[in-house]
Structures are given as structure tokens and as C-alpha cells.
């Protein structure tokens, strides 16, 4: 089966054609990194609340054992990537915080790599009620492996409430250097498509598009072959043009289904569920083979690496060991980036562990150049390349002026932080950094405004309450006066008796002095 041609796709605005830089890392197959001596597993490898440890220091754990459980509505569990002993639960540098420390569970591996026995035999997922299937996916620690690491089970549960037309498998991988999804599709295409079937079953979706960029001919072929073997006519491979950032969720939806995701909304609002190909494969391995998310494919590449390649490594393996496995650093290694050159995180130390979000370990041979920002010349190139059709030059003026109203009007919250505008700016203005800061400021201001509004309403409610109480008091006083005036001798006697006994004529709540 040949992949579908591109002429029936929607249009992506703007974007850039970037050099792929993927040839080096795709020359060999995926290499398996041996289990390291020590595994460092952060408690937060996903969006949402940190997982809570369920093991103690000194406890022996087995591969695949739950070591931290999901906490709250948006969270995901963490599993041990190999067998060993928990030696510490402490702060350790993590890539999510650019090398700053965060709580981690440290496991000293015993070398036996003994897997935990399954509590129950793996049963076909079709026989599970849908509720339980989604719960089971949660228990596997599966999160979006494309980079956003949103807990997959919660994503599916949220999507379950909406009518869904199609599942979009994101095999686009548009950022330069990153090739892990490419290699995954070449070598494990069957896992990917079977995982997609599970997702379709879980949400009752009848159509699946597998989007792959045109610069990945082997992946296109292998995925097409896998679909032929599976013989599922609901699924089809779609080749998309190689433009950055067509792999962004909203951009992919627009490209493949020609529908725009509404501002502030999600792809599920237009009937699409988007999942990374790696996530689909992980779902398959957990549901059908009982292996929770304990390893992933990562690209190790860049001019600073001796032998660029793609590796399959256990979560928790320190990046330094993975780099050593790939031949070590060249003498030109200057910058360590977890992720790609456009949206990745610059990290200060290679002690950080491989986590669920680590799709690429990029060591570049030059530091990003020092700031040589010039005034904006309003050339408008940034607006030409923006995939969301924003006007970055206007947003920049407003961000410098801290003009929250104008920033909102001009759609700052719709910025996907792809960095295309930065790359074409002749004045070398750090646009993406300014927009990130401006977004944080807008969130702050929105919070402040919400609190001010609540305070205002409570103040007005209290003012009203006091007025009512005041009115009530006056009414009572007036009533007493009337009672005193119209009282007969018997009532007056009673009032005098009560006064003598020390009780006031009528019960009143005590209040402080005004």
C-alpha cells in the first residue's frame, strides 16, 4: 500500500524549511543502552502533580514495579526501570528544570534486571469495559511522548466526552536533529499501529491518519507495510510536506483535516485526537505485553557527539552515560540541549537523567551567540513565517510596553513558541523569550484581576449584609418603643421584672463596639 499523496491536505500558514540534520543519527538502527549502575527517576516526568513515592529507602524493587503513584486528577505514576534497591529519595538535577534539582527516587541496580510478575495475565483489551481500559492506561504511566508529556489516560478521558471523528498519529517530527520517531516507525511499526487500534477502540474512533513527513521515505514505507499486514481499512498513512512546525498539534490538525482548532481550545473540539507515534507504541506494549513505560527511544546527536545515533534507553539513565555510549563528547562540545534546536531546553549538567520527555540529547558545537539585538526594522518577515498568523513585530512592541490589553487583542496566548520568528529576524531580536515572559506576565495580571473581582463582590455583599442588619436593628428598636408606649400595667410589670433579672427586653446578638 502506498502512502497517500499530499494534494488533499489543508494548508499550513508560514513555517520554515529547515535543514534536517538527521542523516547522521539515522544511519544505524536503534542501539540498546545497557542498564546503568544507578537509575534516577524524577517524581515529575509529566504535566500535572508530582507522583507520590510508594516505596521507602532501602526497599528492593523489581523492573516494572510501581514506585510512585499518580496524585490527583492530573498526574501519572512512575515505575522502576530495572530491578535494584531504592537508595535515596532526594533532590537531583533534572532536565525539566534546566539542570536545577527536583525530587527523584534513586535506585541502585542489581544487574539482574528482574521483571515484576504480572498480577493478572494479560487479557485481550477488547474484553475490558471501556472505563477499565482507560484506568489501566493510567496505571501504565503512559504520557505523551512527543514532548508535552500530558498524561495519556486523562487526555483520553477528557476526549471521551466529545464526539470524535479521527485519531491523528503524529509521526511528523519536524524539528531538526530529532529522529527518534523516524527510527521507531522504521523498526517498530507494528507496535505503533496496534497501539493506534487500542486508542481507536477506547474512544470509539472510526478513522485514523498517520502523518509522516516527506523526508522519511523508509518510515513511510514501513508504516504502510504495517498497515497492509494489519489489514485495517480505517487507518491510512498521510504524507505531509516537510515544513517546521507542522508537527505542532494544532498545525497538524489544520494540515490533515483542514480544520482550525479554536483559540484556547483543543484538537478534540474539532473532533480530532492527536497522539505521538511513540505514545501509541507505549500503549500497545503496556496493554498487550504488560510492560509499563520504563524506556524510550532517544536521539543522541549533534557536532558535540562522536557517534550520533538513536538509542533505546531505560528511563532514569543519566545523560552522561548515554553520551558515553554514543562515543562520548567531541572536543567541540559546547552546549547540551534536551530536545531540538528550536524548542529544546538548555541544560547545565549531563547528570540529568533520561525521562519520559527526553526525545533528543543534542550537543552542539557552538554556544548560542550573545545577544546582539538591534531595533526592529518592521520588515515583517516574522509575520510571514508565523504558523498562527500572528504579528510578532506588533506583539514585540506591546510586550516591551507591558500593554496587556493589546497583547490579548493581538493573540499572544495563541503563540505556540515555535521560534520561527526568531530565526528570520534580521535584527536578532529574542522574540520567543519576550513572548514567554509576556505570557507569564499576562497570567499574573489575569490572576490579580480575578482576585480583585472576587474581593469587590465580597465587599459589596458585606456592605449589603451590614445594611440589612442595621435595618433589622432599627426595626426591633422601633417595635420595642411601640410596645413600651402601648403597654398596659401588666406588661409594664413584666418588663420591670425582666429588667431586674438583668435580661434585656429582647434577645440581641452581641456585637463589638462600632
Amino acid at each position: 500500500m502506498r502512502p497517500a499523496p499530499t494534494f488533499d491536505l489543508g494548508k499550513l500558514n508560514g513555517g520554515l524549511r529547515l535543514p534536517g540534520e538527521k542523516a547522521n543519527s539515522t544511519a544505524m538502527g536503534i542501539q540498546v543502552v545497557p542498564v546503568p549502575a544507578q537509575l534516577v527517576l524524577p517524581l515529575t516526568q509529566h504535566s500535572g502533580n508530582a507522583a507520590q513515592p510508594v516505596v521507602g529507602i532501602g526497599e528492593k524493587v523489581l523492573k516494572g514495579q510501581l514506585i510512585a503513584d499518580a496524585d490527583g486528577a492530573l498526574s501519572a505514576p512512575v515505575h522502576a526501570s530495572s530491578s535494584g534497591k531504592v537508595v535515596a529519595i532526594e533532590q537531583w538535577p533534572v532536565s525539566r528544570r534546566h539542570g536545577d534539582p527536583a525530587p527523584c527516587i534513586i535506585i541502585e541496580c542489581d544487574g539482574r534486571d528482574e521483571a515484576i510478575g504480572l498480577a493478572e495475565p494479560v487479557i485481550p483489551y477488547e474484553s475490558l469495559p471501556l472505563e477499565s481500559l482507560l484506568q489501566k492506561i493510567l496505571q501504565g504511566g503512559i504520557v505523551g511522548l512527543g514532548g508535552a508529556v500530558f498524561p495519556t489516560a486523562q487526555k483520553l478521558m477528557q476526549a471521551n466526552t466529545l464526539p470524535l471523528e479521527s485519531l491523528l498519529l503524529n509521526g511528523v517530527e519536524c524539528e531538526p536533529y530529532i529522529s527518534c520517531d523516524d527510527m521507531l516507525m522504521r523498526e517498530q511499526a507494528a507496535d505503533v499501529v496496534k497501539g493506534a487500534q487500542i486508542l481507536m477502540y477506547a474512544l470509539g474512533i472510526q478513522k485514523c491518519y498517520i502523518a509522516i513527513e516527506s523526508d522519511k521515505p523508509e518510515a513511510l514505507q514501513k508504516m504502510a507495510d504495517a498497515l497492509t499486514a494489519l489489514n485495517d481499512s480505517r487507518m491510512v498513512v498521510k504524507m505531509v510536506p516537510t515544513i517546521y512546525p507542522s508537527g505542532g498539534e494544532d498545525q497538524l490538525v489544520q494540515l490533515v483535516t483542514n480544520k482550525e482548532v479554536p483559540s484556547g481550545g483543543l484538537p478534540t473540539d474539532v473532533g480530532c485526537l492527536v497522539q505521538n507515534v511513540g505514545t501509541a507504541a507505549a500503549v500497545y506494549r503496556w496493554i498487550c505485553e504488560g510492560e509499563p513505560l520504563i524506556s524510550r527511544v532517544t536521539t543522541v546527536t549533534g557536532d558535540g557527539i562522536v557517534s550520533p545515533m538513536n538509542v533505546l534507553a531505560r528511563l532514569g539513565t543519566p545523560v552522561a552515560e548515554i553520551v558515553a555510549f554514543a562515543g562520548g563528547y567531541t572536543d567541540r562540545a559546547k552546549q547540551l540541549i534536551i530536545g531540538g534546536p528550536m524548542m529544546g531546553k538548555s541544560v547545565t549538567t549531563d547528570r540529568v537523567p533520561l525521562v519520559k520527555a527526553t526525545n533528543c540529547i543534542l550537543v552542539m558545537s557552538h554556544l548560542a551567540p550573545p545577544l546582539d539585538e538591534r531595533p526592529c526594522i518592521r520588515c515583517g518577515e516574522c509575520a510571514v513565517v508565523c504558523p498562527v498568523v500572528l504579528q510578532p513585530q506588533e506583539l514585540y512592541w506591546f510586550a516591551c510596553a507591558d500593554d496587556e490589553v493589546k497583547l490579548r487583542e493581538h493573540g499572544l496566548i495563541d503563540c505556540i513558541e515555535c521560534g520561527c520568528c526568531d530565526l528570520v529576524c534580521p535584527s536578532h531580536i529574542p522574540l520567543m523569550a519576550s513572548f514567554r515572559q509576556a505570557k507569564a506576565r499576562i497570567r499574573e495580571l489575569a490572576d490579580e484581576k480575578a482576585r480583585a473581582e472576587r474581593a469587590r463582590l465580597r465587599f459589596e455583599a458585606r456592605t449589603l449584609r451590614r445594611e440589612i442588619e442595621e435595618q433589622k436593628r432599627e426595626d426591633e428598636l422601633a417595635q420595642q418603643k411601640r410596645a413600651a408606649i402601648t403597654a398596659g400595667p401588666k406588661e409594664i410589670q413584666e418588663m420591670v421584672e425582666r429588667a431586674r433579672r438583668g435580661k434585656p427586653p429582647l434577645e440581641r446578638t452581641e456585637k463589638g463596639p462600632d
Partner: protein
């Protein structure tokens, strides 16, 4: 191993303002060669004077503002302004006229309005207009192009240099003897004197489609403009819109009454039209930014150029047209914002 932390993206942008402006200067070389061929070395001298005073003005103003002058000069924007001023001056022009234009352009129109990126008005055009109204005699002193078949004394290099330095012609020549009307001048005065176009075109200075000499300068400028488009230094919207804005009304009027109007082709290739369309109106700082906005902006300039040439008192309306549309630019930008993906059309702003 430890590393430094940096901000994304981690790739250096390949373009720079200095690089863009250098390309613009290269693209002006064909036009400059044609100009020198037809009108002599005076252009080179004007260029030198303009470059000198633009650079001096830029260095002085950035120094006043506490910045190193190299920073401002290295982006070559002052040199582009100087080149455009030199193209706008008559070939024979005393140095103080060019100097006034250059200094006003850089010091007032550019730096006093906020400096690079903040000025509202196109500096070269503002400088030209100041010179035009301050030195009407010198600014209207146009000479004949070198076309070889008229009885005309062309000044040699020494005489040109002497005029540029001192403003005085050789004793045996008078201003009237050398000065010739430009093709646009010819058409304007001809229409006032109720001449027909056949009578006007019989003047040996009127060329095939834009005036002798001028039409070739227009062609060579267009080569430079095409180069800029190919290199993506400018985008097609403004040049196409300027030319359309000029061609549409002039074509319409020509169609209505052929005898009473010059042909659209004439307007296209005479004066500074092509230079304006590709080099002056496309100045990024003072032009609109959205695609629709650029079409509106360019069309406005073209239309105003036609209006001023046809009904205004100046022979060539390029400078005024550009300055007027500069004023309208913020409104144009505001009204032509494109729809953001994911937002409804005509959403309340």
C-alpha cells in the same frame, strides 16, 4: 560535564540588517551606472557628499545618544538613505543642497523621531523635500541626458566638480543655456499651454516611452528591483501595488481621452517611479507590514504619484506621495490585521 545555559532557539538567525542593506546597495549599482552614463559624473559627486554627511549625521546623533557610532553605521541604513538622496538630486547640484538634504534626513527625520526603527517618515524623502522647498532654483536645475543628437554643451568632470563645490558655472555658460526640462516637466507645462501630445513628443528629449535617458535608468533600476525580489530582501506586494496604483488611474484617464493624457507607460518609466516602487516605498521601517496593508499602502503611493503629477504643481510626486502614505501607515496597519488562526473572522478586537 557542565554547560552554560542559554535561551531557545539555539540557532543564529542567518540574516542581518547590515546584510540586507548591503544587498540593496548592490541592487542600486545598475541604476547608478545608467545614471552616470546619461547624466555624467555629477551623480558620483552627489553620492559622495550625501554619504559623507549621512555618515557624519548618524555618527554624531548616536554619539549624542550615548551609543557607539560603529553600532549604527554598521547596519548601512545611513548609506542607503544617502544613495536614495543622491538619486533624487539633479546631477548638477551644489554640495550644500545635498548636505542639507542628508543632514535633515538623518538628524531630524530619523534620529529625532526615535532613531532606527522608530521613524515615521522615510528619511530620504523627507530630506529631499526639505531641499526642494529650501533651494527651488538649484533643485529645479536639470540638465539634458547624453543622447548625442542635440546641440548641447555637456559639462566635463572638472566643470561638474567646480559647480558642485562652488555652485557656479563656467563663465561662458548660463543656467538657462544648460538647463532642460525633464520629461515630466515637459508634459506638465505642455498640458498647461494646451499642446497636444504629438507636439510634446516631438521634443528630442522625450524618448520612446519615458523620456530619453530616464527610461533606461528606469530599466536598470528594475533589474536591481528584480534582484531584490529574487533574494527575498523585499516582497512583491509593495512594488506591484505602487505600479498598479499608478497604472490604473493613468490607464483609465488615457483610455477616456487619449489626446489629453500621457500614456501609462510614460508615467511608469519617467521620473523616480521604478526607484520608488522597488527601493523607496519598500523601506521596511516606514511601510505597512501585513500583506493586505502593503497592497493598500503601495496602491496609495502609486495613486498619489499620479494625482500629483497630473493635477499637482510639482512635476514628480514621488516624495510627497511617500510621505503622505507614511502618515497613513499606522491606520493602515491597524485596519488590515490578518485573521489569527483559530479566531473568528471580524472578531471584536
Amino acid at each position: 560535564m557542565e554547560f552554560e545555559r542559554r535561551e531557545a532557539p539555539y540557532v543564529r538567525p542567518p540574516t542581518s540588517v547590515g546584510g540586507m542593506m548591503r544587498e540593496v546597495l548592490f541592487a542600486l549599482i545598475p541604476a547608478a551606472l545608467a545614471y552616470v552614463w546619461f547624466f555624467g559624473a555629477g551623480f558620483i559627486l552627489n553620492l559622495l557628499v550625501a554619504a559623507l554627511f549621512c555618515a557624519a549625521g548618524e555618527a554624531f546623533m548616536t554619539h549624542l545618544r550615548g551609543r557607539p557610532p560603529e553600532e549604527a553605521l554598521s547596519d548601512f541604513t545611513a548609506m542607503v538613505t544617502a544613495a536614495l538622496i543622491a538619486f533624487s538630486m539633479p546631477a548638477l547640484c551644489p554640495w550644500w543642497v545635498t548636505a542639507t538634504a542628508s543632514l535633515f534626513a538623518i538628524v531630524v527625520a530619523k534620529h529625532l523621531y526615535g532613531g532606527m526603527g522608530y521613524n515615521i517618515f522615510n528619511p530620504a524623502m523627507a530630506g529631499y523635500v526639505v531641499a526642494l522647498v529650501s533651494f527651488p532654483m538649484y533643485m529645479n536645475f536639470w540638465t539634458a541626458p547624453r543622447i548625442g543628437d542635440i546641440d548641447y554643451h555637456y559639462l566635463d568632470f572638472y566643470e561638474t566638480a567646480r559647480y558642485t563645490l562652488t555652485g557656479s558655472l563656467p563663465e561662458y555658460l548660463s543656467f538657462d543655456a544648460i538647463s532642460r526640462a525633464t520629461p515630466l516637466d515637459t508634459v506638465k507645462t505642455g498640458l498647461k499651454s494646451m499642446l497636444t501630445f504629438d507636439e510634446m513628443y516631438s521634443n528630442p528629449l522625450m524618448g520612446d516611452f519615458g523620456g530619453r535617458g530616464w527610461e533606461w535608468i528606469g530599466n536598470f533600476t528594475a533589474i536591481g528591483g528584480a534582484w531584490l525580489l529574487l533574494r527575498k530582501i523585499i516582497r512583491w506586494h509593495i512594488p506591484v501595488a505602487v505600479l498598479a496604483g499608478l497604472l490604473v488611474p493613468s490607464g483609465f484617464m488615457y483610455f477616456l481621452d487619449t489626446g489629453a493624457h500621457a500614456s501609462p507607460g510614460f508615467y511608469l518609466f519617467s521620473g523616480g517611479t521604478i526607484l520608488c516602487a522597488f527601493f523607496i516605498a519598500t523601506d521596511p521601517v516606514t511601510a505597512a507590514t501585513s500583506p493586505r496593508g502593503r497592497l493598500v499602502y503601495g496602491f496609495g503611493i502609486g495613486f498619489l504619484i499620479y494625482a500629483i503629477r497630473r493635477w499637482g504643481s510639482y512635476a514628480d510626486g514621488v516624495a510627497f506621495a511617500v510621505l503622505l502614505m507614511n502618515m497613513a501607515r499606522p491606520a493602515i496597519d491597524y485596519l488590515t490585521r490578518p485573521r489569527i488562526v483559530g479566531h473568528a473572522k471580524n472578531e471584536a478586537r
